[in-house]
């Protein structure tokens, strides 16, 4: 155990990086699941009355699922840039801590935005139920919420690149 801690948390930052990567995956995944549950619950109510709208509601239900993928992308990017995935480890403990912070912060944004997007999707589903011909426009409402998940993803990618490019004495 001591060797493990020394190897992955004191000599290298691989352990911190893995924690940060999995935090991004966890927050993104849980947020997406909750967002889809909110949208799915609303859709189930509509479909019980209007089953013919299934095709139109399918994408609206799936919209909050994106943040889970963004968390996954952040994790993959961290693993690839630090050499955890298929290469020599090149991450110091300080870098690892910085990457862990990136993963947690990005994950929290993914988590909350997925839930908010689920709520916006639920509203859009109600709109589609009342006016099915407006289903196209209604997709754009929850899509706007995703902007901030994308901003967090972009910031994460930039910071991962910046942190892993640092020259540490």
């Amino acid at each position: 155990m001591e060797d493990f801690v020394t190897q992955y948390f004191l000599k290298t930052g691989a352990g911190w990086t893995v924690i940060g990567a999995m935090m991004a995956v966890m927050f993104g995944g849980v947020g997406s699941a909750r967002g889809i549950r909110i949208a799915g619950g609303q859709a189930a109510g509509v479909l019980s009355e209007k089953p013919e709208l299934f095709g139109k509601l399918l994408v609206l239900m799936a919209l909050p699922g994106t943040q889970g993928f963004y968390g996954f992308i952040i994790a993959i990017f961290m693993a690839a840039q630090t050499g955890i995935l298929g290469g020599a480890l090149k991450v110091t403990p300080l870098m690892g801590l910085a990457l862990m912070a990136v993963g947690i912060c990005a994950g929290i944004v993914q988590y909350r935005s997925a839930i908010y997007q689920g709520e916006a999707s639920a509203a859009a589903i109600s709109m589609t139920a009342r006016r099915p011909e407006e289903s196209g426009r209604s997709i754009l409402i929850p899509a706007l919420v995703e902007t901030y998940a994308v901003v967090a993803l972009l910031a994460s990618i930039l910071f991962i690149m910046w942190v892993t490019a640092m020259k540490v004495a």
Partner: protein
């Protein structure tokens, strides 16, 4: 490949007998009926609305819908599932419809089905109640002690309770806390004790409430004094008889199941009749003449004229192009190659009549994205075989045929992407040919080079964004707004490629020239956008502010922030592709472990796990691929240029959403 040109139809008939015009039109089946416009006060005064009494048909439709709902529970088909995704009318003939109309007497069928449904519900509810009691009394069925009935005593009220045995023991020690009630433990089972309580009748509610607070769970008691064992036996018999009653009713309902198709045909017929009757209320009349307005496809105008001369010679027909501002219904006709993509456009919403049909322009992107998300050669082949079979099975339903055709294209794309990345049922090539083979060290393996794969996904995103802007340019240009095309789309073609070149120049010093050119392009585009995007504002300040805001991208789907966000959204292509492969690899590992660990049955189990696991992965990942490829089209691509919302061209007649008469 386009939106069908339509003509506006004016039908002027004598006021007497005007109510029959919709019936004739329904037989012809070519005219989409609209409200008669009343644009000014003069029209409002001169024209009166016609009305039709539709209550009788509405009642029949409601009763038939209820009958269909009951029968559908006992006679389901694969079409039920698919028709929720894609409108799938039943193909029928006049002869079959006539037979159904003769066979189904809704006035006798409806009460019979309602009565059977009510009996079934009552039987199930009784069985559920008995099941609940049996569960509560589980373990007490051999208890021979007496059990009082709730109303079995004259001045007192008895009740049964289930409590944890520990609580029963504790209460036994402090019995003084329960004044006014006599408790008797009837027996123990597991960690629970069955307790009988007796209290004065006037205190019964108060005592019951107190016992509940203490953690007593009420158990419904017998109606007469008996023993616990006899009571449990009686409940068992009741449960069996209720179940038998439910089965009997269900058998009777199942026997009526074959009527379902006929009920659906009659329902479709009645819905069409209702629509036809309601069309009367869209007409307007003066004292002597009545007028009806509708639309006909231009290519069917001559057929309509001939049919009108035959069916309604007394009705005058005037055809003219739709006026600006008319809410024109839209029908799409595409070449066979692009027809499957029409399914996506109809799913999202139809374009307005003056816009253009994007079906052909989204086809390649959708199919490519689907292939990248699923990307596996074996999955592609299996899916192609399945979709070809389903396409043949449902070839008579245009909606389903288009859907499965689209999936066939997606399957081919899946195969090609899988072949390009050496992915065939995940990592089978590498496993079969060994870790030193070319397949184990494939140069285009996204699992080994995820960052490069992410770059490709984002590059596809950029390309699709440009394609969307090109569509906007095309749409505005075709509508005659050439300055709008140049300012609102053309300038972005200067700015965005300029930014891309600028980034390339920054990353690769040897391409510094491209960076310089890109910088100038981006600057020119940005200045142009700031100067033109606020051109509809009156004040100079307003023009500049709107220009800057538009460049940044707070409002609408255009702007630097929107483009960056939409492009990053394409990273899901990588995530989904990797997910499909990784789940497939997990299936391979599990199958291999089963084969090695179990000597005799190993090979059989290996094959079962491989087939079941990969089929599951294909279905789940295929669903994800479809949804997310569609989302990239609907949100990121359509957001650039497309506005849905037109009403569907739906001719009045026996061609509704439920049935289609073919002969």
């Amino acid at each position: 490949m386009a939106i069908d040109p339509v003509l506006k139809v004016w039908l002027i008939s004598p006021a007497s007998g005007a109510e029959e015009v919709p019936e004739h039109l329904a037989r012809i089946g070519l005219v989409h009926v609209s409200e008669v416009p009343r644009s000014d006060a003069e029209h409002q005064e001169a024209l009166r609305s016609l009305s039709a009494d539709t209550r009788a048909i509405e009642t029949r439709v409601r009763k038939l819908a209820e009958c269909l709902d009951i029968l559908s529970q006992f006679h389901r088909s694969a079409r039920d599932l698919l028709s929720n995704l894609i409108p799938t009318p039943i193909e029928t003939t006049h002869k079959a419809l006539e037979a159904a109309l003769q066979a189904i007497d809704v006035e006798s069928l409806h009460p019979r089905l309602k009565e059977l449904a009510a009996r079934r519900a009552a039987a199930h509810a009784g069985a559920e109640r008995a099941k609940g009691r049996l569960k509560a009394l589980e373990g007490f069925d051999a208890l021979g002690v007496a059990m009082p009935a709730e109303d079995g005593l004259r001045w007192s009220s008895a009740a049964l309770w289930l409590i944890p045995t520990k609580l029963a023991e504790r209460l036994g020690a402090t019995n003084s806390t329960l004044e006014g009630v006599v408790l008797e433990a009837l027996g123990n089972a597991g960690s629970n004790t069955l307790v009988a309580s007796v209290a004065l009748r006037e205190h019964a509610d108060q005592v019951a409430s107190r016992l509940r607070e203490l953690g007593f769970e009420p158990v419904p008691g017998p109606e007469r004094n008996t023993t616990v064992a006899a009571y449990v036996q009686a409940i068992r018999e009741e449960f069996k008889s209720r179940e038998a009653a439910a089965r009997e009713v269900e058998a009777e309902l199942s026997g009526l199941g074959p009527l379902r198709t006929q009920v659906e045909l009659v329902l479709g017929h009645e819905e069409n009749a209702l629509e036809t009757a309601r069309a009367v209320s869209k007409m307007a009349a003066t004292g002597r003449a009545a007028v009806m307005v509708g639309y006909v496809r231009a290519r069917e105008a001559e057929v309509l004229k001939a049919a009108m001369a035959r069916e309604m010679p007394e009705v005058s027909l005037v055809l003219e192009p739709p006026a600006a501002g008319d809410n024109v219904p839209v029908s799409l006709t595409n070449k066979a190659l692009f027809r499957p993509a029409q399914f996506l456009v109809e799913m999202f919403g139809l374009p307005s009549y003056n816009a253009f049909d994007p079906s052909a322009f989204l086809m390649l992107s959708f199919v490519l994205f689907f292939g990248i998300c699923l990307g596996d050669a074996i999955y592609g082949l299996v899916m192609l075989a399945m979709c070809l079979a389903l396409r043949a099975r449902y070839r008579e339903y245009p909606g389903l045929r288009n859907f499965f055709s689209l999936l066939c294209y997606g399957a081919v794309s899946t195969f090609l992407v899988g072949a390009a990345t050496a992915t065939a049922a995940a990592d089978l090539p590498a496993r079969v040919f060994g870790s030193q083979s070319i397949f184990a060290n494939w140069p285009a393996d996204p699992l080994k080079k995820p960052v490069a794969a992410l770059g490709i996904a984002l590059a596809l995103g950029i390309a699709n964004q440009f394609w969307g802007i090109a569509m906007k340019f095309r749409g505005l240009w075709l509508q005659g707004d050439k300055w709008g095309a140049l300012f609102d789309a053309g300038l972005w073609f200067l700015l965005l490629p300029g930014l891309v070149l600028l980034m390339v120049g920054q990353v690769s010093p040897e391409l510094a020239l491209a960076g310089t050119v890109g910088g100038w392009m981006a600057a020119a585009g940005a200045v142009g956008l700031v100067l033109t995007q606020g051109r509809n504002e009156r004040s100079v300040v307003g023009k500049v502010v709107v220009g800057v805001v538009s460049l940044y991208g707070i409002v609408g789907s255009y702007g630097c922030v929107s483009f960056i966000g939409d492009t990053l959204s394409y990273s899901r292509l990588l995530a989904l592709g990797l997910t499909t492969t990784i789940v497939g690899m997990a299936v391979n590992i599990i199958a291999e472990l089963v084969r090695l660990d179990i000597a005799v049955l190993g090979t059989v189990l290996f094959l079962v796990v491989m087939a079941g696991g990969h089929l599951f992965n294909l279905l789940i990942s295929g669903l994800g691929a479809f949804i997310h490829a569609a989302r990239l089209i609907f949100v990121e691509f359509f957001g650039r240029f497309y506005e849905p919302g037109a009403q569907r061209f739906a001719p009045l007649g026996a061609t509704g959403s439920r049935i289609r008469i073919t002969g």
